[in-house]
C-alpha cells in the first residue's frame, strides 16, 4: 500500500464559490469531523499537496489559477471537485463568464456534489480520491518519467462516483 494514501495533504482553492462549500471544507478540520485522523492536513501550498480540493465553478478569471495550482502539485495527485458548482457549474452554469465545472480546465478524479456539500461527503470524496492516488502511484512506479495518466481508468463514470458519495454522506 502506498504511503500517499496515509498522508494526503490537501490544498483548497475557492473558485467562484458562494463560500458555502468552503465553510463545509473547513468544518472537516474541526474537532467534530477531525480529518487529521486520516493524516489529512490542509497545507495551503500546492507544492506540498496531494489532493486538490476545488469549490465553486471555474470562470474566465480563475481558470489559469486553477490550472497552475494543479500544475504545481507534484505527482501523484488527485483533484476533488467539492459542491455542485465545482462538479458542473451548478446554478451559475449559464452565466456569461462561467466555463462550467472544474473538469473543463483540469482532469477531475472525484466529484462531491451537494449544495453545500456536507462534511461527511467531502471526507468520503477525499477518501475515494485516495484509491486514485494509489493507482497513480502504482502507474508512476511502472512508468517513472512520464506523467501518470490513469485518471480516467481508475475511476468510473463521474456521475456514478458522485452518487455513491451522496449515499455515503447521507447514511
Amino acid at each position: 500500500m502506498a504511503y500517499v494514501t496515509k498522508s494526503p495533504w490537501v490544498v483548497h482553492y475557492d473558485g467562484s464559490s458562494c463560500n458555502g462549500c468552503d465553510i463545509e471544507v473547513l468544518a472537516c478540520l474541526t474537532p467534530m469531523y477531525d480529518v487529521e485522523r486520516f493524516g489529512i492536513i490542509n497545507t495551503g501550498n500546492p507544492k506540498h499537496a496531494d489532493v486538490f480540493l476545488v469549490t465553486g465553478s471555474v470562470n474566465e478569471q480563475n481558470k489559469d489559477v486553477v490550472k497552475q495550482i494543479y500544475d504545481q502539485m507534484p505527482e501523484p495527485k488527485v483533484v476533488v471537485a467539492v459542491g455542485i458548482c465545482a462538479c458542473s457549474g451548478g446554478v451559475f452554469r449559464d452565466c456569461y463568464n462561467i466555463l462550467g465545472g472544474v473538469d473543463t480546465v483540469i482532469p477531475v478524479d472525484c466529484y462531491v456534489p451537494g449544495c453545500a456539500a456536507r462534511p461527511e461527503a467531502i471526507i468520503d470524496g477525499v477518501v475515494k480520491g485516495l484509491g486514485v492516488l494509489e493507482a497513480k502511484r502504482a502507474a508512476m512506479l511502472e512508468n517513472p518519467p512520464a506523467k501518470a495518466e490513469v485518471a480516467e481508468e481508475a475511476i468510473g463514470e463521474p456521475a456514478e462516483a458522485a452518487e455513491e458519495i451522496e449515499e455515503g454522506g447521507n447514511s
Binding site: N45, P46, K47, D64, V65, Q68, Q72
Partner: protein, 642 residues
C-alpha cells in the same frame, strides 16, 4: 635585517617611480614586478627569521633620528598649511601641539636615552609582514584594473593615478616599518606617515565630501597621535626608555606603573583601529576608491592600531585600568557596530561596520591580555585581513559592473556575475560560518573572555555573534538567489581583478585548513616568548581537527553536488499565476505585476544613528574613566616623588 630594510625602502622608492610613471603600460609593468618582489621578499623574511624567535637589531644611528625629525617637521608644516587652507583649524592645531612636543622630547629627555635596539622581528611581526606583503600587494595589483575603470567612470577629471599608486606603496613601506620598530619614536614616525597616507587616499577624489572625510580621519588620527606622544614622554621620563621591549619587560614587574604609558599608547591604537567613538572616520573613508578601503581595512592602517594593542597585551589585563578600558571599548564597539551593520544597505558600509566590530573584538582580546585572548586576537587579524580584502575587492568589481554598491541591487548577482558572487559568498562564509577562520577565532575569543572573568564581555560576544550571523546571512541570501531571466555580464571584468579574487578566495580556504599549523608553529612559540611558560586552554587539538574535517566535508560536498540536480526544474509558487518567468504574476484584472524582494533592515531597533549614539556615549564614559584613573595615578605618583 637587510631584507627588512629592503621591505621598508623598496616600496617607498617604487612609490616615487610610480609618481613619475604616467603611462598605463609602464605603471602596469612596474606594479606587477614590484609587488611580486615585495610579496617574494616578505616570504623570504618569514623564512629567514622564522626559526629565530625574537630578534633585535640595534640599527644605531643618529642620522636616522634627525632625518625622521626633519620629515616630521615637514609633515607638520604640511598639515598646518593644508588645515588652514581648507579651514580645518583643528587639524592644524593638533599638529602644532604634537610635533613641537615630540621634538622637545627628542631633543631633551629622549636625547639622553640610548636605545639598545631600534628594530626587531618576531613571529607576530612576521605574520604582519606577510599580511602586508602579500595581501597589500594583491590589492595594489587589483587597483590597476580597478583604477582604469574608475578613471573611465570619472572621465573628464584629471588623471591622478600616479599619485594614488604613490600613496599606496608609501603606505606599504610605512606599515612594514611600523611593525618592526622597537623604538617607539620610530614607530611614531611610521604611525604618522600611515595617518597622512590614509588622509591622502581618502581625499583622492577631491570632492567636498572626500575632503571633509579625509580631514575627519586626519583629525581623529592626530588625536590618537597626541596620545602616542604623551605615552612616549611618560615612558621616557618615568622609565628612561623608549623601547617597546623594555617597556613590556618592566611591565612584568611594575605592572600598574607601566599601565600608565600603555593606556596612552592603547588610546592611540583605539583611534587608529576606528573604535567607537572614533569610528566615523573609517565610515567616511568609504568615499575613496575601493582598493583604498580594502587596504585600510585589511592589511594596513586599522591593523596598525590593533597590532599595537596586541603588542601591549601583556601589560594590560583585567587587573588594571588600562586593560579594563581597552577591553570595554573593544567589547562595546563590537556589539554596537555589529548591530548598526544590520540597518545598512550599502555594501561598503556593512563591510566597514563589520571591520569596526571585528577590530573591537581584537582590541578586547588585547585588553583581556591573557595568552588565550592574544592567540584569538592574532588569529582574528590574520583571517580578517584575508577575508575582508576579498569582500571589498568583490564589492568593488560588482559596483563597476552593476552600477551600484547597494546590497538590495545585488539581486541575482549569482546569475549576472557568477564568479564574483561565488567569491563574495566564500568571503561572507569566511566571516562568520563554522569551519572558517573568523568563527574559529571568535570561538577562542569567547573561551578566553569566559576565562578572564569579565561576564559583560561574555554577554557582549554572545549577543554580538547572533547579530553578526543575521547581517551576513541576509546578504549571502541575496547573493545566492537564482533570479531567472538575468544575463551574465561578467566578461568585462579585468583579468587582474579575477586573479586577485581567486587568490584571496583560495587563501581564505587554505589558511583555514592550515590554521592548526599556524597556531602550533607561529602563535604558540610567540605567546610562550611573550608570556613565558606553556600556554594551555587554547582551542583543543581535537576541536581544531573537527573544524578542518568540517571544511573538508564542505569542500567535498560542494565539489560533488553544487549545481547538480536530477530533479526537474519547476516554476516558483507565486500565489497567483506565475507568468512563467518566475518574476511576474497576473494580479487583479489580469495585470502583470513584477515582484521585488527586499531584506529586513530593522531600522526601528538597530538604527545606525541610535547604535552609534549608544556606543559613543558608553565608550566616551569608559575612556574618560579609564584615562582619568590613569592620570590620577600618574599625578599621585608624581606627587609622591616630589
Amino acid at each position: 635585517m637587510g631584507t627588512i630594510l629592503f621591505l621598508i625602502f623598496f616600496p617607498m622608492i617604487i612609490a616615487f617611480v610610480l609618481l613619475a610613471a604616467k603611462s598605463d603600460k609602464a605603471r602596469d609593468m612596474i606594479v606587477y614586478i614590484s609587488t611580486a618582489i615585495i610579496a617574494g621578499v616578505s616570504i623570504v623574511v618569514a623564512v629567514q627569521y622564522f626559526g629565530a624567535g625574537e630578534k633585535f637589531f640595534p640599527a644605531h644611528t643618529h642620522v636616522v633620528g634627525y632625518l625622521m625629525m626633519a620629515v616630521e617637521i615637514g609633515l607638520a608644516i604640511y598639515i598646518i598649511f593644508t588645515g588652514i587652507k581648507h579651514k580645518k583649524y583643528l587639524a592644524s592645531l593638533l599638529a602644532i601641539i604634537q610635533t613641537p612636543l615630540m621634538i622637545w622630547f627628542e631633543l631633551g629627555t629622549g636625547h639622553e636615552i640610548e636605545s639598545q635596539a631600534n628594530m626587531y622581528i618576531d613571529k607576530l611581526s612576521i605574520i604582519m609582514i606577510l599580511i602586508i606583503g602579500i595581501i597589500g600587494s594583491l590589492i595594489c595589483v587589483y587597483a590597476l584594473g580597478y583604477m582604469k575603470d574608475f578613471q573611465h567612470h570619472h572621465a573628464g577629471e584629471k588623471d591622478r593615478r600616479p599619485w594614488f599608486f604613490f600613496v599606496m606603496f608609501l603606505f606599504l613601506g610605512a606599515m612594514v616599518g611600523l611593525v618592526t620598530s622597537n623604538n617607539m619614536i620610530w614607530m611614531y614616525f611610521f604611525w604618522e606617515i600611515t595617518s597622512l597616507s590614509s588622509f591622502w587616499l581618502i581625499g583622492y577624489t577631491r570632492t567636498g565630501e572626500a575632503i571633509n572625510n579625509s580631514f575627519r580621519a586626519l583629525i581623529m588620527n592626530l588625536f590618537g597621535g597626541l596620545g602616542f606622544v604623551i605615552g612616549i614622554i611618560i615612558l621616557g621620563n618615568i622609565f628612561g626608555t623608549v623601547e617597546l621591549s623594555t617597556m613590556l619587560l618592566y611591565g612584568s614587574v611594575y605592572g600598574d606603573l607601566v599601565a600608565i604609558p600603555a593606556a596612552f599608547f592603547a588610546f592611540a591604537g583605539i583611534t587608529k583601529a576606528a573604535q567607537m567613538p572614533f569610528n566615523s572616520w573609517l565610515l567616511g573613508a568609504m568615499v575613496a576608491p575601493t582598493p583604498t578601503s580594502a587596504l585600510l581595512h585589511s592589511s594596513t592602517m586599522v591593523k596598525a592600531g590593533v597590532f599595537l594593542i596586541i603588542k601591549l597585551a601583556p601589560v594590560l589585563g583585567i587587573n588594571n585600568f588600562a586593560g579594563l578600558m581597552v577591553m570595554m571599548v573593544g567589547g562595546i564597539t563590537f556589539l554596537f557596530a555589529s548591530c548598526a551593520a544590520i540597518s545598512q544597505n550599502n555594501a561598503k558600509r556593512v563591510l566597514a561596520y563589520s571591520t569596526i566590530a571585528n577590530l573591537g573584538l581584537i582590541v578586547a582580546c588585547g585588553g583581556v591580555g591573557t595568552p588565550e585572548a592574544v592567540w584569538a586576537g592574532i588569529m582574528l587579524i590574520i583571517f580578517h585581513a584575508i577575508t575582508k580584502s576579498l569582500l571589498f575587492l568583490c564589492v568593488g568589481t560588482a559596483e563597476h559592473h552593476i552600477g551600484s554598491r547597494m546590497i538590495e541591487d545585488m539581486d541575482g548577482l549569482f546569475v549576472r556575475m557568477p564568479k564574483v558572487a561565488m567569491f563574495m559568498i566564500i568571503g561572507i562564509a569566511g566571516m562568520f560560518l563554522a569551519p572558517f577562520g573568523m568563527l574559529i577565532s571568535k570561538w577562542a575569543t569567547m573561551t578566553s573572555f569566559v576565562d578572564s572573568g569579565n561576564f559583560i564581555l561574555v554577554g557582549i560576544i554572545c549577543f554580538g555573534s547572533a547579530v553578526t550571523a543575521f547581517y551576513w546571512l541576509k546578504w549571502m541570501g541575496k547573493l545566492s538567489a537564482v533570479v531567472a531571466g538575468e544575463t551574465d555580464i561578467e566578461q568585462s571584468v579585468h583579468k587582474s581583478e579575477t586573479f586577485v579574487h581567486m587568490t584571496l578566495a583560495i587563501l581564505t580556504v587554505v589558511v583555514c585548513l592550515i590554521f592548526p599549523l599556524i597556531s602550533l608553529y607561529a602563535l604558540v612559540p610567540y605567546l610562550e616568548g611573550v608570556f613565558g611558560g606553556v600556554t594551555d586552554g587554547l582551542l583543543s587539538s581535537s576541536n581544531m581537527i573537527i573544524m578542518v574535517i568540517m571544511l573538508a566535508v564542505l569542500v567535498l560536498l560542494a565539489a560533488m553536488f553544487f549545481g547538480k540536480s536530477k530533479k526537474s526544474e519547476v516554476p516558483i509558487y507565486l500565489s497567483g499565476v506565475n507568468t512563467g518567468d518566475n518574476r511576474t504574476y497576473y494580479g487583479s484584472m489580469q495585470k502583470e505585476v513584477q515582484f521585488t524582494l527586499r531584506n529586513w533592515h530593522m531600522e526601528s531597533i538597530f538604527g545606525e544613528h541610535r547604535m552609534n549614539v549608544i556606543g559613543d556615549v558608553l565608550n566616551v564614559a569608559v575612556l574618560v574613566v579609564g584615562i582619568g584613573a590613569v592620570v590620577a595615578t600618574l599625578i599621585s605618583l608624581l606627587g609622591g616623588v616630589a
